[in-house]
Structures are given as structure tokens and as C-alpha cells.
Subunit: 268 residues, 4 copies
């Protein structure tokens, strides 16, 4: 008798990504008449500060996205906990938020799922869609690990900040960011986002250093901007990102363009 061993399907690890959308925000900003621009800027920034604090509490990473659409990588978080963030917003802001959560093998797929779920619940400008929390039932899928690439511009102070007009320095960094994000999205289903200064953070599936090298080369070819990158891996975005920051420090110290963290940094 021949027995066929049942090989348990390899558990597919996955990333969990959340998309937070201000409900009916566009209409609100112009009702009853256009609201003062600096007030809107302050509202959005303050809401994002609270969001980053909430996400950081759960060892995730938060990106401001388009401010009315914020994104978080939250591997370690029960999606139901977002109800707490929704309550917090409702009790502190003049707006409410809906949240979609996706879980998939790549960051872009996961965000796509989150995005689909929100869209299925109604248009972003549907005045009656309020405080949706749309998550899946993939509880059996295990999350992690995530790979984070933390990029910055080689010698940014010497090459840009202290040399260029602030306008041109900003445009140069914006272009480098956009080319990097577009490339990583197309080639590796990854999310990349500007996070301040000359820093860009990419959330990736399990990419090799060579893949990061190609990305850096692509940006140099398209824009003339030279990036360096620290690579980290871990069960959560914070773990992976902290390792990536350590690795980037080594790039700065040694002149290496790519450095991969070999161990997790001590917890903070």
C-alpha cells in the first residue's frame, strides 16, 4: 500500500495593511463655505499625529498618504481594535473615519484589499457612509515577516540642503521619492512613502539586497539622485523598520550604499 504523505500547505505569511479614510471629507471642507486652508492643514496634521501614535502603540508604521487617506502597516493588530481609533476620532474631531483592512502576501495587494473593502461599503463621498470598519475573516493567515527598506539621500546636506534653493531641493527629493515608489510598486508590489527630510520608507515582501540595489540604480538613472538604504526584517513594521534604521546608520558610517541588518535591535 502506498501512502501519500499529507504535506501541510506551507503557511503563507502575509502583511496586514489598513486604509483610513475621512468620511465625506471633500464636501465637509466646503460646507457651508470653503473652510480656511490653514485650519484644514492643522486638522489633517493633528489627525495624522494621533494616527501615528495609535499605530505606533501597536508596533506598526503609519504613512500620511493623502491625509484624507492614511495608511498603516499593522501586522500585530486585531482589526477590531481600529474601532477604538474611530471612537477616539469621533470624540475629538469634527470628522469621522472609516477603516478598511487587508491581509495579503504583498503590501500592495493588502492595501488593495483594504481599499476594495472600503469601496464595497460605499463611495468616499457618500454622505451616509460613516465609520465603516471593513476587515476580512482571514484570521487563520499568519502575518509576518515584513521587510522594510529605509532610504535617504547620500550626503543630503552637502548635495542638496545647504547647496540648493529649498524649492529645488524639495522638488529633487519629491522626484526621487516618486520614481522609487513607482518602481517598487511595479516591480515588487511594494509601498514606498516619503516620511520627512530626505527619508523614504518602503514596505516590501521578502526582497533581496540586489533588488534594492536595482531600485537605487533606477532612481539614479531617472533623477541623478543617489540614495542609500538600510534593510531590516521582522514580525512587525516597527521591528523591521528599527533594524532598517540601524542598518542605515551603518551606511552613513561606512559609506556602504546598502546594508542589511543581521539582528534585531534592542526593543524600545
Amino acid at each position: 500500500m502506498i501512502t501519500i504523505p499529507i504535506v501541510p500547505a506551507r503557511v503563507t505569511t502575509a502583511l496586514q495593511v489598513a486604509l483610513v479614510q475621512i468620511d465625506d471629507y471633500g464636501p465637509w471642507t466646503v460646507t457651508p463655505e470653503p473652510r480656511r486652508e490653514t485650519d484644514l492643514q492643522a486638522l489633517q496634521a493633528s489627525l495624522f499625529a494621533d494616527f501615528a501614535t495609535f499605530v505606533g502603540r501597536h508596533d506598526g508604521y503609519a504613512f500620511y498618504g493623502r491625509f484624507d487617506n492614511m495608511v498603516a502597516v499593522v501586522n500585530d493588530l486585531d482589526p477590531a481594535v481600529f474601532a477604538r481609533f474611530q471612537r477616539q476620532v469621533r470624540n475629538r474631531y469634527p470628522v469621522t473615519v472609516s477603516v478598511g483592512v487587508g491581509l495579503a502576501e504583498t503590501p500592495v495587494e493588502a492595501l488593495g484589499e483594504a481599499s476594495d473593502r472600503l469601496q464595497a461599503a460605499g463611495s468616499a463621498q457618500d454622505g451616509t457612509r460613516r465609520e465603516i470598519l471593513a476587515a476580512g475573516t482571514e484570521a487563520s493567515i499568519e502575518t509576518g515577516p515584513v521587510t522594510v527598506g529605509h532610504f535617504d539621500v547620500v550626503d543630503v546636506t552637502g548635495s542638496l540642503t545647504d547647496r540648493e534653493n529649498a524649492v529645488d531641493a524639495t522638488l529633487a527629493i519629491r522626484r526621487a521619492t516618486l520614481e522609487l515608489a513607482t518602481y517598487l510598486r511595479a516591480e515588487h508590489d511594494s509601498l514606498a512613502h516619503f516620511v520627512g527630510g530626505d527619508n523614504i520608507i518602503a514596505i516590501c515582501p521578502d526582497l533581496t539586497p540586489a533588488a534594492f540595489d536595482d531600485a537605487i540604480e533606477h532612481v539614479r538613472a531617472e533623477t541623478g539622485i543617489e540614495l542609500q538604504v538600510g534593510i531590516g526584517r521582522g514580525p512587525t513594521a516597527h521591528d523591521a523598520g528599527a533594524a532598517a534604521k540601524e542598518a542605515l546608520e551603518q551606511c552613513r558610517a561606512t559609506g556602504a550604499r546598502i546594508r542589511e541588518s543581521e539582528q534585531l535591535p534592542a526593543d524600545d
Copy 2:
């Protein structure tokens, strides 16, 4: 008898632009070890919220720039008043800020001046450069008026938000922003900045509607994204911007791609 008519020198109007830079921020973010990313995001966003509030108090417009380099258009403000913002930051944040102020005929020249003044006072990462307030002595130059173009994407909900993956929608808007900003900087010495959602605000010298039309056409040709724009003029960025918002509302209501405000909106 020959009379020589005294032609009054045409008063050159000018824009006043401020560049606010966190002192020695890069080193601080990694000392003694890299700080938690979500804390940095929260810090930057909170600082910008306060900056927008401060600038709005003086009828200016604030842009987050690169977060460690924020920008404001502040026609109506004595540069010395920035010392109050510096004090406020020192007393509420773990960082300090330096401020450069420029006054020139175009936004890019003014920001260039602000930038030059800061650079003259020391490198952004010079640990001993703290709380510089570098303004000029052009007190006799009168400011204003400023022209604001407030752009957004035609039918963004139908064309992007509810149709595209949030990743691609964001990349599309980022590309439109970058092409617009690069074009306006090159052609008209103007500053354009993403301000949330699908909104882009440009601070310009006295441009005609035709020049805005060319800019929209340029973005469409480069990216396929169709923008519309409300144009406003006024002595301060807020005045001009509020008029631009009103005009943009008319674009939305009528389907016009460009609308210029004919009168100032009521004060708020």
C-alpha cells in the same frame, strides 16, 4: 518752460516667504539611537499643525515642505513675529527651529532668499546653529498682491478614489503634483504644494488664466490627469486663497476648468 513730469517709481510689489528649519534634526533623530519612526511622524505632524495655526493667525498659507523644512507665505507679517513661534516651539517640543525670511517679486525668489539667509547662518546640521531668525531689511518694499491657484482633479472620486487601488490613486496624484510643481517652478517661478486629498495649491506672481491653462495642459500631457483650477488674488495668501477656493467651487458647479474669482470672499 519745460516741465519734467515726475514719474513715480512703480512700487514693486513683493511676496514674503518664510522657511522654517528644525535645528540639527537629522542627528537628533538618531541620538543616542534611532528614535521610533511613528514618534517622529507624530512630532513632525504636530509641529506642522502648530505652524499652520500660527501662520493662519496671520492670514498666511503654510506648507509642510519636507516637515523638517516647512514653508509659509506670510505677506502681512513682521518677520520679528517669528520669534514668537520659535519661543513656542522651544517651550513645547524637544527641538528648536531656525527661520529665514525672504521678500522678492516671485515666490521662488523669495524662498530662495529665505533659504540663502539660513544657509549663510550655518549648515542645517551644524549643531551649534540654533534658533536663527534671519530676515532682511527690505522694510520699504511693499508686499502683495499674491495670486493663488487652487487645483484639484476633475471628478476625483469617480476617476480615482472609488476606482483605483489607493496605492495607484496616490501615485497618480503625486505625479500630477510633481509635474505641476516642476512646470510652475520652471516657467513662472511659482511654488506648488500638495495639501491633502487631491488638492494642490500654487503661490504665483501675477499670472493670467492662460498661463494656468497651459499648466493644466502640461499635466494632462505628461500624466493623463485632468486638473481644474480656481484662481484668486489678494493682499495675503489667505485672501487670495479663499478667493481661489470660491472660484474652484464654481469650476465644480459649472464644469469649467478654469475660473477666476472676481471679488474677494467675505472675511472669515
Copy 3:
């Protein structure tokens, strides 16, 4: 043979209370010279807002205390988690905080323990005492339940807000708060704190409604102010407090002076 049954010692339930102290705050407020009062007010209020958010995330209750000494009832929280709050403060404020945690049968004993632990680690104005986290090793003591009394003034709008000068209304409520807090501290080892409007919240051991009635009577006799109280019980301050709020709503609806919640409210 007579066997003496070994009665397991009744598990003593306990409350966990944290005392958060800004390190070396007094000297900081006047160095190098006295800082602007409204900046200090804004700093303290902003820090407390963050503290309340942090504590609420863990279903505790937060009180502003003296602002430089804030208090929280945090039954359900591993004291080590306060390291996250300390990190958040360090990365966002110009000050740091130390935390003492106590666990005891009554709120006052628990806060006393927290207070003792901080004092053992150094004076509040010892410039070298920074970011202490002083908790005990009582891990085996189970926490909860807690009893919360949520008081307010009967018909405050009619009796005070709309009738008295704002000065006198505030003084009256302050006096009622102080008499209540002093009485509950002396008689029942309880903490009572003003929380805004005409609301006072008391954290208590397992008190009977009759004990609350005596407290109300004491305040009436001393101040002429008539209070009503909703009483709730639960494993955390939030659970107990939410039940107390429901009960207070019933006081308002029915005219009862004391109402005890019979069930836990639905979770939010």
C-alpha cells in the same frame, strides 16, 4: 481526629494606580529665565491630553492631578508598558517623566505606594533623576474590581451656571470638590478628582450606596451644594466608570440622588 479545613486565603483584590511626574520640572520652567506662562499651560495640557489617551487605551482613568503630577487608575496594565509612554514623551516634549506604580487594596494606599517608590528613587527636583519607572513585584496580586462614583451638581445650569457669576459658580464647585475629596480620602481611602464642568469622579474600594449618601450629605452640610452620584463597578476604571455614567444618567432622568448600575454597559 479533627481536621481543620484549610481555608484558602481570600484573594485580596487590589487597585493599581500610577503617578506620573515631570522630571525636574520646576527648575526647567525658570531656566534660563521664567518661561511664558501660557506656553507652560499649553505644554501641561497637551501632555495631559496625551496621557489621557494613553491611559484610555488601556481602559484606565486619568486625572490631571497637579499637571506636573498626573494620576491614573490602570488595573489592566502591565506597569512595563509605561516605558512606552515615557518614550513617547521623550520624543515629543522638551521634558521627560518618571512613573511610580502602586498596587494595594485602596486607591489611596496604591497611590501612596506609587508615590513612595518615586520618592525612594530621588527627589522630584533632583536634576539627575530621569525617567524612573518604579513598579513593584506584586505580580501575583489580582487587580479589581474597582468602584467608581461619578458625581455632579443637581441642576447645575439652573442653580449655578446660568444664575451665578462664573467666578462664584467655579468657586462653589471647587469647594464641593475639595470637601468631597477630603471626606472620601479620610473616611474611605478614596481618590476624588474634578474632571470638568460640574463633574467629580471618585475611585473607591467596595463602598455601599449608603457610604455615598453620607458623602453627599457631608458636602451639602459643608457647602450647601447638592450632588448626585452614579455608582458603577467593574474590573477596570473604564468599565466601572462607564457603568457609573449610565447610573448618573438615571439620576438625571428620575430625580434620584444615588443610583447604582446593575449591569455593565455595552463596550465601546
Copy 4:
């Protein structure tokens, strides 16, 4: 013929005080059901932080009052400017505020006037009363100067913070505050408010040092707490208060119980 000499009325100097009230706040906090207490604490504290920043911008002093009723001394401010604060709140919070402004010879009279004006516009819990700005027409009355007494507890660290349980230290300071505030209100029509730590600030008409001495003596007799006070005078609360702080520093340095500032401190 008898002529009656027209004696010009001596210009009465006056203080301007504002009372800011959250509209319909009580009902909002329990609609549709009681809101989470820590969210309310965070909301109130955040609103007060913004209020303190706004008031500080105009060289006033802000007090949290009862949080839903905040108070400011704003000699140098056109009452119409409060419309900006109202707009800022409307655009950033889930609540709105009404403002009453009074101008009178003493702080209590001024606040009474502010209070009366708000009450005349409707009850604090009238759901339809929204964003009232009730100021007078006393434009011809000149404001200032104001006298500020900045009190604290003599050797608070040694006598209270490091010695007493935090509960008892806080109760002691609260009692000292209440006795001081009640005395100054009754004897000198002054406002006194706890501002954090062991600091109490009194806004007064033109009182002599002897009057402050009597107040300190009264508190000692009633509570056993020994206060010291710095006294400052100036056209705005900030000017007077900064001078008072300087004077209080001299108390701390010299052991004097009362010190009056002789000159204005340098502006910050």
C-alpha cells in the same frame, strides 16, 4: 452767571476678561450615550492647550476654569478677534464655543460682565445657542494696568512633594488655592487660579504688598500652608505676570515672602 466747570472724568482704567463656554457641552457628552471619560479629558485638555496658545499670542493669561468654561485676561485684544478662535475650534473640534467679553475696573466685575452677556444670549445648555460672541461697546475705556500675584508654596519639595503622599500633597495645595481664591474674591474682587505644580496666579486690581501679605496670612491661618508671592504690574497680563515671575524668583533666592517687581522684564 454761574459757570459749572466741566471736569473731565478721570479715565478709568479697566481689565478685559473673556469667558469661553463650550456650547451645549453637557448634553453632547452623553449623546447618544455617555462618551468615554478619557476621550473627554483629552478633548478638554487639547482645547485648553489651543486656547492658552491663542491667548498667549495676544499677551493674555488663560485659565482652564472648569474646562467647559475657560477664562482669559486679555487687555490688549480687540474682542472681535475671538471670532478667529471660534472658527479655529469649529474647524478642529466636534464642539463649538461661545465667548463673552467684559471690561471693568476689577477682574471679578469684568468676568461678571462677560458672564452676564453670555447668559443674556441664552442658557449654556440651550441647544440652539451657538457661537455667540458677546462683547460690549466700551471701546472708549482704556485697559490696564493689571496687577498679577504669582504664588507658590515655600519649599514645596521639602514640605510636601517629597514628604507627603501625593494625595495629601494635592489636597493641601487645592485647599490653599481655594482659601486664597475665596479670600481674594471677597476682599479684593480678584481672580485666583491654580496653574499647575504648586503655583497659583491671581489677577488683581492695583493692590499693595500689604494686601498680599494679608492674603498669605489668611491662607496660613486657615490651612497651615505657607505661600510666597511675586507681584508684577503691566499693561497686559503677560507683562505683569512675567514681572511677577521674576519677583517670585527673588523670593526663592532671598527667602523673602513677598517681592514686588520694580521693572518690566525683557520681552520674550
